[in-house]
């Protein structure tokens, strides 16, 4: 073996040894920085067959702009009603930039609300609601949307909007009021939960026939609502309380 080869093997061995020696330090620093896994992002990249320019930009750190460009490309596929491209681009945008709820929420809405209708022509759209096959299609896409939102919730565990969106899908697409109620209540308990989440929770309780609980919830809720904030809709909540009191004879 000539000296160059011996030198090369020596360098290789020393580099591996250094890698081994610094592994603990590397892991510890990564934990201190709270860095997350990128494996999912790479899988999504492979599925979506991103152009080399975009891959380079992503590698370079232009994460938000790449995610936005992917979303714009998704919009073109959405207009063509192209299932596979729309879905893969939604998953790609959420995996590239999972830090913001926009991609999770709107992606789930497209999957749950738009995609089932793509299975039928405009004239046959009613079949989604009137046939067993249509209901199965709705259910299938609702599951897909919920799966996406589950991932979003694991990435953004403090985000009430994602849980609320899951609740909406459980309610409107799967008719599962019990599960929807649980999700709305969980979202309502989070900091920065929008006021409408509480109102929807009360509505879901009422629709389940749990009027007493709905009334108790609204009475408790209205105490903390700010009078001067339009979004809090205090008069609407008070009117609902009055309506429930009348209905329950209280």
């Amino acid at each position: 073996m000539n000296s160059k080869r011996i030198q090369f093997i020596g360098i290789l061995a020393a580099a591996l040894l250094l890698g081994w020696a610094t592994r603990g330090l590397e892991q510890s620093a990564s934990e201190d920085f709270g860095q997350s896994s990128d494996t999912e992002k790479l899988e999504a990249l492979t599925q979506a067959r991103l152009s080399q320019g975009m891959s380079l930009a992503l590698l370079g750190g232009y994460r938000p702009i790449v995610a936005n460009m992917v979303w714009i490309a998704m919009d073109g596929a959405w207009m063509r009603r192209d299932f596979d491209t729309t879905l893969s681009h939604i998953k790609l945008a959420t995996s590239i930039d999972p830090r913001h709820e926009f991609f999770w929420l709107n992606g789930a809405r497209i999957i749950a609300n738009d995609m089932p209708t793509w299975r039928y022509s405009y004239e046959e759209m009613d079949r989604l609601h009137t046939t067993i096959e249509g209901r199965m299609i709705k259910d299938e896409f609702a599951e897909e949307a919920l799966e996406l939102l589950e991932k979003g919730s694991s990435r953004l565990p403090e985000n009430p909007l994602i849980l609320a969106e899951m609740g909406v899908i459980e309610w409107r697409k799967k008719d599962n009021l019990q599960r929807a109620g649980d999700l709305f209540l969980k979202a309502w308990g989070m900091p920065d939960a929008p006021y409408y989440v509480g109102r929807i929770y009360a509505e879901v309780l009422e629709r389940q026939g749990r009027r007493e609980e709905a009334l108790a919830f609204l009475r408790e809720m209205v105490i903390d609502l700010p009078e001067n904030e339009l979004e809090a809709m205090v008069p609407v909540v008070r009117e609902r309380i009055r309506r429930l009191e009348r209905a329950l004879g209280k």
Partner: protein
């Protein structure tokens, strides 16, 4: 028995001053390069374009988007600059044979190698510092405007952590320092600039994805794939470790211990690659 490298000047004591002088010259050479100025302008233009691209932004708030864009520019253009500049400074003189004139004088090859590295790093530091300050300034101005326009959105005052933005610049310098040292190592072997640049870009991409190999190493089932991933994971430095822009853009606090550990990690790798470069270059026939 002591070993004197074949091409070293015997009985010459090692001097950091000589390395520093070579470094100063290398830096002057670097800033005279049109490529350096062009990349600096391009990076600043790309950063300025974030104010246009914010119209296409769906996910993040404006300040986070601008910060992300600035970090992206630093990372992408900084890496390209590091690879090309280091190769040009080191191999340029060897290809043009002007290095022979310098090395014929009482200069150790390790001093020449370190000098070229120092020159490249000063130029890269100027690039990173300019972009980091430009980013911090742009964010400061925009944040001030936004606070004046909608004070309700900033109940607790400023949201950007400017100290951490400057620390991003420091972390990035470390990352580029490791990359530059690795490129110097390739240069001590390479006979053409093209080969050295290609290898530089490959290790940049490989190092950026090293953490994925580490994850796969832990997760993979077969012995062969485990060995393969372990080999890649241990061989390459983890450049992703220095990417702390995500946290900073979200305004999240970063543990000081993380900075300290990443610094030790970066310095260890850069020192290792430079030491190997000294040995390798001292044996190279020019």
């Amino acid at each position: 028995m002591t070993h004197t490298p074949e091409f070293e000047t015997p009985n010459l004591s090692w001097s950091f001053r000589r390395a520093w002088l070579i470094g100063q010259n290398a830096f002057r050479e670097a800033i005279r390069m049109k490529f350096f100025a062009a990349l600096m302008v391009l990076a600043l233009a790309a950063f300025a374009s974030s104010f246009v691209f914010r119209e296409f932004n769906f996910g993040a708030s404006e300040l986070k988007f601008i910060a992300d864009f600035g970090f992206g520019g630093l990372s992408l253009f900084g890496s390209i600059l590091t690879v090309i500049l280091t190769v040009q400074l080191f191999l340029g003189e060897i290809e043009h044979r002007t290095a022979l004139t310098l090395l014929a004088k009482p200069v150790r090859r390790s001093e020449y190698t370190l000098g070229k590295y120092i020159g490249a790093m000063i130029a890269i530091a100027c690039f990173v510092a300019s972009l980091t300050l430009a980013l911090a300034l742009a964010l400061w101005i925009r944040e001030t405007q936004l606070i004046a326009e909608s004070p309700d959105l900033f109940p607790e005052g400023r949201v950007m952590r400017y100290g951490d933005i400057l620390m991003f610049g420091v972390m990035h310098m470390l990352r580029l320092g490791v990359l530059s040292a690795l490129v110097v190592l390739f240069c001590t072997y390479a006979t053409s600039t093209m080969f050295a640049m290609l290898m530089g870009f490959l290790v940049w991409i490989g190092g950026q994805l090293q953490h994925v190999a580490t994850e796969a190493w832990v997760a993979s089932g077969t012995v062969v794939s485990k060995l393969g991933y372990a080999f890649v994971s241990l061989l390459l430095p983890n450049f992703h470790l220095f990417d702390i822009g995500d946290k900073i853009a979200l305004g999240e606090a970063i543990a000081l211990s993380g900075y300290a550990k990443a610094m030790i990690y970066g310095l260890l790798y850069a020192s290792f690659y430079l030491t190997v470069s000294f040995i390798s270059f001292s044996k190279r026939e020019l």
